[in-house]
């Protein structure tokens, strides 16, 4: 089996755009959680908002100036990831996007326009509100002719996107692949999650480039050593244990080999065995699928730099000086779980 490596990273986040600014904020523990400014009805609430973002800095094509924010964030993150690895997008490049909500602001605006009837409603609000519009825009913007997919889900969507890309690469359907996740803050969704007791929601996009080890021209960040995703609504705890064990098995590792776990979920102590845990959510807020991919990006930088950012790590007693293996995982109350292990490149 050909080994897959992660060769490019792109980030648009509340703590900075670009991997350098993102990492600097992580190391400094600089929070991006501030009062919401974009939506008048939410200005009393806190969240991870993208501010001062200008898509023109990343994409020359003016057609995307009117695209939804969710698309613009994705275009910028993809552009940054492509530049990071310097791959050439070609016919055999694929793109898989993992998203949770889609372009809710355009959906809301279009539907309210219909309900008010007198309003002039642009057809573009409809076409850009479909769930695969961000992926479609990305394929148009970067000329991606290979498979382009949008995978819908919660936190696991971007990890399922990586799994699909792994299949496309391993079976020779694609030669280079881009995984991206993107979200935008929306008034209705924000309000609903607040009523459900979830706060500090956020927005942004992360993108990664995955290639086969034999094909890389630049120094990779890390290997993707193992990945697993399961759903068992009858037994969520069993699902998590099974997913982690499957992932470890695929990576040829044992739990004691894992140097740090990046997760926003509560994991049983018995499972973790005192391994340090970290999460980006305290700095960026929760953007569902984007957060999971953000954790992958964070893990890749930790492995490459060998630096453990103190600001986001709990249980520092057992921190290793030599970070080789990082596991990103999550579970939700429904029993949807995933685990992915990144391993240092030789």
């Amino acid at each position: 089996m050909k080994r897959l490596v992660l060769t490019g990273l792109g980030v648009v986040s509340p703590i900075g755009t670009g991997k350098e600014q993102f990492w600097k904020s992580v190391v400094e523990g600089a929070s991006g959680i501030r009062k919401i400014t974009k939506i008048p009805s939410l200005t009393e609430y806190y969240g991870g908002e993208i501010r001062g973002f200008d898509v023109d800095k990343y994409v020359d094509d003016r057609r995307f100036r009117r695209a939804a924010d969710i698309s613009k964030y994705a275009l910028a993150a993809i552009k940054l990831a492509i530049m990071d690895t310097a791959i050439e997008v070609a016919d055999n490049t694929s793109l898989v996007m993992g998203i949770t909500h889609g372009a809710l602001n355009y959906t809301q605006e279009y539907h309210w326009g219909l309900l008010k009837e007198s309003a002039e409603v642009s057809p573009m609000l409809f076409s850009d509100s479909v769930l695969n519009a961000p992926a479609g825009n990305a394929s148009i913007c970067f000329g991606i002719n290979g498979p382009v997919h949008t995978i819908i889900g919660g936190a696991e969507a971007s990890i399922k996107a990586i799994m699909l890309e792994r299949q496309l690469l391993e079976k020779g359907i694609a030669e280079k692949s881009i995984v991206v996740s993107t979200e935008e803050i929306n008034e209705l969704a924000f309000s609903c999650y607040l009523r459900k007791g979830m706060n500090q929601l956020s927005e942004g996009s992360c993108a990664i480039v995955i290639e086969k080890e034999d094909d890389v021209k630049s120094q990779p960040y890390c290997y993707i050593a193992g990945i697993s995703s399961l759903f068992n609504p009858a037994s969520p705890d069993t699902a998590l244990t099974d997913a982690i064990n499957q992932c470890l098995q695929k990576a040829g590792l044992k739990i004691k080999d894992i140097d740090i776990v990046i997760t926003d979920s509560r994991l049983p102590d018995t499972l973790l065995n005192n391994i340090p845990i970290g999460s980006i959510i305290s700095l960026t807020g929760n953007a569902f699928s984007v957060t999971s991919l953000c954790h992958v990006v964070l893990s890749a930088i930790i492995i490459k730099t060998g630096v453990l950012p103190n600001a986001i790590i709990k249980n520092k007693t057992f921190m290793s000086d030599n970070i080789k293996n990082v596991m990103v995982c999550a579970s939700d109350r429904e029993g949807i779980v995933f685990a992915i292990i990144l391993t240092s490149y030789n």
């Binding site: 309900l115 479909v130 519009a133 479609g136 819908i152 299949q167």
Partner: protein, 402 residues
């Protein structure tokens, strides 16, 4: 690419404007019956195109395990049709014992609940709109509900690639089985009739105010439909071990992206042709006996699809009968590719080609071998195409099991 494991279809469920179940659906498809009528589920009178393929006889499906009974119609469509497919496959007693992969395509998810929620927000305010309405809004929640209703375990993938979603979902399940990740998959697609979507397609001038006439010179748009198509896929040895009925085999799958325009297909059809060529290569270049076309009845799609088919098949194009079922049941968006895969399977099982109804006038831009009438034919291998917004192209090949 090594393809050691064969993937067979052992059960299907189908729900369209024609009705519930494969017998009524195939009976009406075969005879060329239209189930398109004025849309009744909302006030469609103000729109240019006011016709569609609604499920008039379907309201909801019984729920035995899910505690929350207030599910979006999309969940009911999916659960009902999956139940039919599971029963058809005869695997109902064993399905809880195995890890199963669920792969579905949808464009709207629980959009109907979202519409009601939006209306409540306008009427009552943001803090008083019924929160439970949005619990089933997200497009992967229908699949979560299906897991719970049938007490399944395994994994799922929900893809939303516009009108190619259903074919993509079947293709992903096909790959998951042949690459050894799972032995058993429930896959397909679904979508509901929504005012949001009808208004959207109307605003793009894509909906016909008349009849949907794929490949006809006078074609002027599509009609929307609703429903679901679900297939049970199994690895051949696994199916044989349990003495399952084998209805047919998935032989090949291909996909590509136009990278051209968010709503218009790339006119030359070269990118769509790439998806078809990939599927044919994947299947070992079989002779194609029938093409179940995407055939939406829009100017741009049908001309592009013609170009794609001609690019791939060259002089043989004239030998292959082509028809679209969309004038009969409407365009089911995320469900379309799955329904059409099932109908393609029926053409093999029943050796009959369903007609491309409403076709009157030849269009030189669509010079395919259009099946104007029902025709008996020894169909062994079928190509089914799906193309969607965002430039998504998918092609799947179904063949007789031998």
């Amino acid at each position: 690419m090594t393809l050691n494991r064969r993937v067979v279809i052992t059960g299907v469920g189908i729900l369209t404007a024609h009705g519930m179940g494969k017998e009524i659906n195939w009976g009406k498809m075969k005879s060329g019956t239209s189930s398109i009528a004025e849309i009744k589920s909302f006030d469609a009178f103000k729109y240019r195109g006011k016709y569609g393929g609604e499920l008039r006889e379907f309201t909801s499906t019984p729920l035995y395990k899910i505690k929350n009974k207030r599910l979006d119609r999309a969940s009911h469509l999916l659960i009902h049709t999956a139940r039919e497919a599971i029963l058809d496959s005869g695997i109902n007693n064993k399905i809880k014992d195995r890890d199963v992969f669920l792969s579905f395509g949808t464009t709207l998810g629980g959009m109907l609940s979202g519409e009601v929620f939006h209306k409540e927000v306008l009427r009552k305010g943001l803090d008083r709109a019924t929160l439970s309405l949005v619990s089933d809004y997200l497009a992967h929640y229908q699949t979560i509900n299906l897991f719970k209703e049938f007490e399944l375990k395994g994994d799922f993938s929900v893809c939303s690639n516009a009108c190619a979603s259903g074919t993509n979902a079947v293709g992903h399940a096909f790959n998951a089985i042949r690459y050894g990740e799972y032995d058993l998959a429930i896959c397909g697609g679904y979508d509901t009739m929504s005012e949001f979507t009808l208004a959207g397609f109307n605003s793009l001038m894509a909906v016909t105010p008349h009849l949907c006439r794929p490949f006809d010179k006078d074609r002027d748009g599509l009609v929307l439909g609703e429903g679901a198509g679900i297939l049970i896929l199994e690895e051949l040895k696994y199916a044989m071990k349990r003495n399952a009925q084998i209805l047919g085999e998935i032989a090949g799958y291909g996909e590509s992206s136009d990278a051209h325009h968010i709503t218009s297909p790339e006119p030359s059809g070269l990118s769509a042709a790439k998806a078809i060529k990939t599927a044919l290569l994947d299947a070992g270049h079989p002779r194609i006996d029938y093409i179940n076309a995407h055939g939406t009845g829009t100017k741009y799609n049908d001309a592009m699809e013609t170009n794609a088919i001609k690019t791939v098949f060259g002089k043989k194009t004239k030998e292959i009968p082509v028809s679209s079922i969309k004038p009969m049941v409407g365009h089911l968006l995320g469900g379309a590719g799955a329904i059409e895969t099932i109908v393609s399977l029926f053409t093999i099982n029943y050796k009959t080609i369903p007609p491309n109804i409403n076709y009157r006038t030849h269009d030189p831009e669509c010079d395919l071998n259009i099946a104007k009438q029902t025709a008996e034919s020894d169909i062994k291998t079928v190509l089914s195409n799906s193309f969607g917004f965002g430039g998504s192209n998918a092609a799947i090949i179904i063949r007789e099991y031998q």
